[in-house]
């Protein structure tokens, strides 16, 4: 039986037969369906995925006309992380003129709202200058990052220390107190950047510290939207389901813990977000086929129920992309094309 070049979730090369690839596609999709209580992929969708995984071509793309908006988050720090020492406005110009970005984001190297707060007025002139010199829509963005509000980084007792000691109530109270401060910081920074002229505010990797982190993001979105009705807010998630670190927090009467993408997007809508960025995590021990079918199953369910545009996250280790600093072109192009072809999405 013919063997096809394939990769695992960590990017390692393997050889697989078409039958093995198909079995992994079905298993990955059914895993997502089972977890999210959503439909698995249909036969023609499996067939399409099998076709692209068995294709001898290094690069796969969408059909003309099916292209989507490409949103870059944190690129002004990513370019410096790889040792290219350009300033941030130059970075934005490189991305808009050379990298094919449809939107960009100005971000501080300490990519969280809390550290930006005391230097926000130094960030504003850079944003204002960038807005004079660039053409494409420009977000200002950072992570909510609730973890920064607990000891030793912040004033509140550390729930990650309290919880394993069985101090559940104390941990929950700490989360509740911390999220109030986080909301204030997001609204403070978001307001200044919007008043400087940002085209949008990005709340990136929401829920990284669990349900309290996600709740703070939603409340901050609601407050910014009430303050500036025309503001564009993008909420990008940290993981495929909301970790129940507190577990009892609700928004609009719905328990946040355990929500998957198709449920999260309804919360983002209710808060007034303009764009939602759902996530599906890559399992490094499973094949690319398993991961991509699984990711598409989650994103498809989200896209079908969303009333606002969705931009699934397709960076390293999410959306079927392998966990590796340099994700291979073969697997990224297949993930990119398949996600865009099979899901009702509005951007990446």
């Amino acid at each position: 039986m013919d063997q096809f070049f394939h990769r695992m979730g960590d990017g390692s090369a393997v050889q697989m037969t078409a039958k093995q690839i198909m079995a992994d596609l079905v298993e990955g999709s059914e895993d997502a369906a089972d977890r999210g209580k959503i439909p698995p992929l249909a036969k023609e969708e499996y067939d399409y995925l099998l076709d692209i995984f068995c294709s001898p071509h290094k690069f796969i793309s969408v059909e003309p006309g099916r292209e989507v908006i490409l949103t870059y988050d944190a690129a002004t720090l990513k370019i410096r992380r790889v040792g290219v020492h350009v300033d941030r406005i130059q970075a934005l110009q490189i991305y808009e003129k050379i990298m094919g970005a449809d939107t960009m984001e100005l971000a501080h190297v300490d990519y969280s709202y809390k550290p930006v707060k005391p230097i926000a007025t130094f960030e504003q002139p850079i944003l204002e200058q960038a807005l004079l010199a660039t053409h494409i829509p420009l977000f200002y963005g950072a992570q909510p990052n609730l973890g920064l509000y607990s000891q030793p980084d912040g004033p509140f007792p550390n729930p990650s220390e309290l919880m394993p000691m069985g101090k559940i109530k104390e941990a929950q109270e700490s989360y509740e107190a911390a999220l109030e401060d986080l909301v204030k910081d997001i609204v403070f920074v978001g307001s200044l950047m919007y008043e400087s002229g940002a085209d949008g505010i990005n709340l990136d990797t929401a829920g990284a510290a669990g349900d309290a982190d996600f709740l703070a993001t939603l409340i901050a979105t609601e407050k910014l939207k009430a303050k500036y009705p025309d503001i564009c807010i993008e909420i990008g998630m940290a993981g495929e389901f909301v970790l129940g670190m507190h577990s009892q927090l609700t928004y609009k009467g719905e328990r946040l813990a355990g929500m998957y993408a198709h449920q999260q997007v309804k919360m983002a809508e209710a808060a007034g977000a303009t764009i939602f960025g759902p996530v599906s995590n890559t399992n490094t021990s499973k094949s690319a086929a398993w991961n991509l079918a699984r990711a598409i199953t989650f994103m498809k369910a989200c896209g079908e129920i969303a009333n606002i545009p969705i931009h699934p996250n397709m960076g390293m280790g999410v959306g079927g992309v392998t966990v590796n600093d340099q994700p291979p072109v073969d697997v990224v192009s297949r993930s990119s094309a398949a996600m865009t072809t099979l899901c009702r999405l509005d951007g990446l």
């Binding site: 808009e96 449809d102 494409i136 606002i308 990224v332």
Partner: protein, 104 residues
Amino acid sequence: MAITHAHASGMGGMRVAGDLVARVQMARGMKLAQAKAYVAEKLAVDVSELTDPIVMTEVRTDLGLGVVTPLPGVPKGIEAKFNIARVLDIDINCVKRFRERTRF
């Protein structure tokens, strides 16, 4: 990785009309198909031409929407964004702020 996405499924930014479709989505909350149709109508092109760099470079040059290779006298940066706001009939936050600050 970014380049791979741009080539595999991205609209293409200001080489074409990617930034314009994104602007409409952000300003009006439109889903992708609706945003593409809106921009195509405003630019008087077919939806399929929104990702054609030959057509879009001409359109962008003619309308002063900003192009990758700027020629002398062609609108750039905020100048181009004034034109984008007018042509697409949308508010652009920094254009509004520019007017306020310059009392233009």
